[in-house]
Amino acid sequence: MSRLNIAKGRVEMVHGSGGRAMAELIEQLFAQAFDNEWLAQGNDQAQFTLPPGRVVMATDSHVVSPLFFPGGDIGSLSVHGTINDVAMSGAKPCYLSAGFILEEGFALADLKRIVDSMAAASKEAGVPIVTGDTKVVERGKGDGVFISTTGIGVVPEGLQLSGDQAKPGDAILLSGSIGDHGVTILSLRENLGFEADICSDSQALHSLVAAMVECVPEIRCMRDPTRGGLANTLNEMAQQSGVGMQLMESRIPVREPVRAACEFLGLDPLYVANEGKLIAICPQERAEELLAVMRAHPQGQDAAIIGTVVEDSYHFVQMETVFGGSRMVDWLNGEQLPRIC
């Protein structure tokens, strides 16, 4: 087997054609980075036994542009995103799979950077990538690299989290500041060159989740407010549970540079994507306790109780503004586009 020229080489069609070149790419790039006993078996599938309990599975495809951004890259994002989707059920994530669609001509050095970042994210999270797949598409038919990851996890005994469980009177908690990821990506994409210290919040939240469900197993539901931001995710939960929500704008943490960037771009941080935050809904009487657990965890230091679940047959999310007025926090309409004046 020859050595891949990672420093100068590029992805070629032959890397996806099933022959020796593909074996080299998998061996020297993916297997070396992800290195674990399941991959070492060398089979087309990973075989494992799960601990007892209800099994959950989630999948997520990642197509972010740019591929590298302050606070992460498409690789770490693809690991964090799927771990978080699994963890929002209260489950302990156990294994991941990864599928790559590579564009012909993509620099192997960049691919290695992405794969190494995935490996580091997976090791840090303690969730191994145990099986994968690679395909190559012709130049112009992809955007460098697309990554699809799937995760499997197991829900500990006694937990029953679901988006349809929110009840009037429940408290709504948020684990930290919103808008960081979306504003980071947008400012790079549009070449706006904000010098301010804005970086993505991309992180795996399962250890925070584990601490939360251990202390308050009565948590009704959790969800990570990714695309569409806090506003959309709360609307989804309100719809699913058949309830309304009342928020207090003054309680929702938004970091100063993110607020300034949103102000500048005419965006509403409530609709901007996050990749390392969660919303939890729990019975009001357990809210303070849950908040204390979240704040004691490094990923929940800025956690806050941001509102209350209310009875409302229209399932509206409403908010008392910092200004003292009242507004509706509607579903995101289309794409959030900057206004003209």
Binding site: R259, E263, F316, Q318, T321, S326, R327, N333, R339, I340
Partner: protein, 382 residues
């Protein structure tokens, strides 16, 4: 955020709202039009209607650039974008507006047409420099706020000797539209209930306060120019109520931190060097208004996309049931439209007022549905 949070202070807002409640005469109604979409947006985003007494009503004016652009002009832009040699550049809000046949620039882009969203017209110049084998057309829309940047890029393109850059100019003028609102048949018959204007913020930084002086004089309607922050809006409402209560009728300036009587003379000079009055321009909802828009001067004709491509004048097909025209004239409420909410929604806009977050229908869709159903915050806290 410095110089922003000061104008969003909840304590001051409560005090101002209380003052408005004290001073508004319960025996009369106050119909105040915020001309500008920027105000409409702030009014809904900060929940201002909920702070006002029932007899103070805000009417949303036509100052939403995408709302007043007639379908025909959009169809012309779509025709330009379809030319294989053209890269069409415009502002984000414009992309979603449906033209005749429900096509939008966004849909065109999905089909492979080269349409690009800009934050600044200067980016269009860069795109032109990077794509010398393409024709880059900037689809320019907006009121006086966005006009100086358009004039500057045309001037710059001339200085750079760019041969592949042009502008499809649709810039319109605020005072002309205000005159038109006060000259409609509804205004003449008294069907238009309008007691005063909240004057534009950013537009006024460019044109100054002097162009509003005819409104108190000719039409007996007071104008208070206000900033876009929510405290600015509340303060302007209070100032208008005071004028109406006192029987005064004048132009007042709440936005003194940015607006002078004569405006930004440099910007005005830049505009008049490159652009000139059009004899007439079609507005959605208001019809053809004389001297209400700008066109590119003949000295800069090579940068005028209409001339360069010989664009055919199109007159688009409006949905007959769409009430956008009457809503833009302030005589109908979005609720009066049979299309409102079903099938016309912000996700599936049939009319222009449903497209932009500055549009009256989109604002009503988000807020109006809710205000009828709103659970008072006091009740929730109890």
């Amino acid at each position: 955020m410095k110089y922003v949070d000061e104008f969003r202070d909840g304590e001051k807002a409560r005090a101002l709202a209380e003052q408005i409640r004290r001073e508004a005469d319960p025996a009369r109604r106050y119909h105040l039009m915020e001309f500008c979409g920027g105000h409409t947006h702030a009014i809904f985003r900060y929940g201002i209607p909920g702070l006002l007494p029932e007899n103070v009503r805000l009417i949303h004016g036509p100052g939403c650039p995408v709302c007043v652009l007639p379908i025909g002009r959009l169809d012309m832009a779509i025709a330009l974008a379809r030319r294989p040699e053209v890269i069409l550049c415009t502002y984000g809000d414009m992309l979603r507006v449906p033209g005749s046949g429900r096509e939008s620039l966004m849909k065109l882009r999905a089909e492979g047409t080269d349409v690009r969203m800009l934050y600044s017209p200067a980016d269009a110049l860069k795109i032109a420099q990077q794509n010398p084998d393409k024709e880059v057309v900037f689809f320019a829309i907006g009121f006086e706020t966005t006009t100086p940047p358009t004039a500057l890029v045309i001037d710059q393109a001339a200085k750079l000797g760019l041969k592949n850059f042009s502008v499809f100019c649709n810039h319109v003028l605020t005072p002309a539209a205000m005159h038109a609102i006060l000259n409609t048949p509804e205004a003449d018959s008294g069907a238009l209930q309008l007691d005063g204007f909240i004057g534009p913020a950013h537009v006024s930084t460019v044109i100054g306060s002097a162009p509003y002086e005819p409104f108190p004089q000719q039409y007996k309607r007071p104008v208070v120019i206000a900033g876009f922050e929510p405290l600015d809006v509340l303060q302007a409402i209070l100032m208008l109520i005071r004028q109406l209560n006192d029987g005064r009728c004048e132009v007042e300036n709440e936005f003194i931190r940015a607006v002078s009587r004569e405006g930004n003379l440099k910007a005005q000079a830049a505009v008049s060097r490159v652009l000139e009055l059009r004899s007439s321009f079609e507005w959605r909802g208001l019809g053809a208004i004389p001297e209400s828009a700008l066109q590119i001067r003949s000295e800069y004709a090579e940068f005028d996309a209409e001339k360069r491509f010989g664009v055919e004048q199109l007159h688009g097909r409006e949905n007959k049931a769409c009430e956008c025209p009457s809503i833009l004239r302030g005589v109908k409420n979005p609720r009066d439209c049979v299309l409102f909410g079903d099938p016309c929604t912000p996700d599936n806009p049939l009319g222009s007022c449903m497209v932009s977050s500055e549009g009256a229908c989109a604002a009503y869709y988000s807020y109006g549905r809710f205000s009828e159903r709103r659970i008072p915050a006091e009740e929730l806290r109890a």
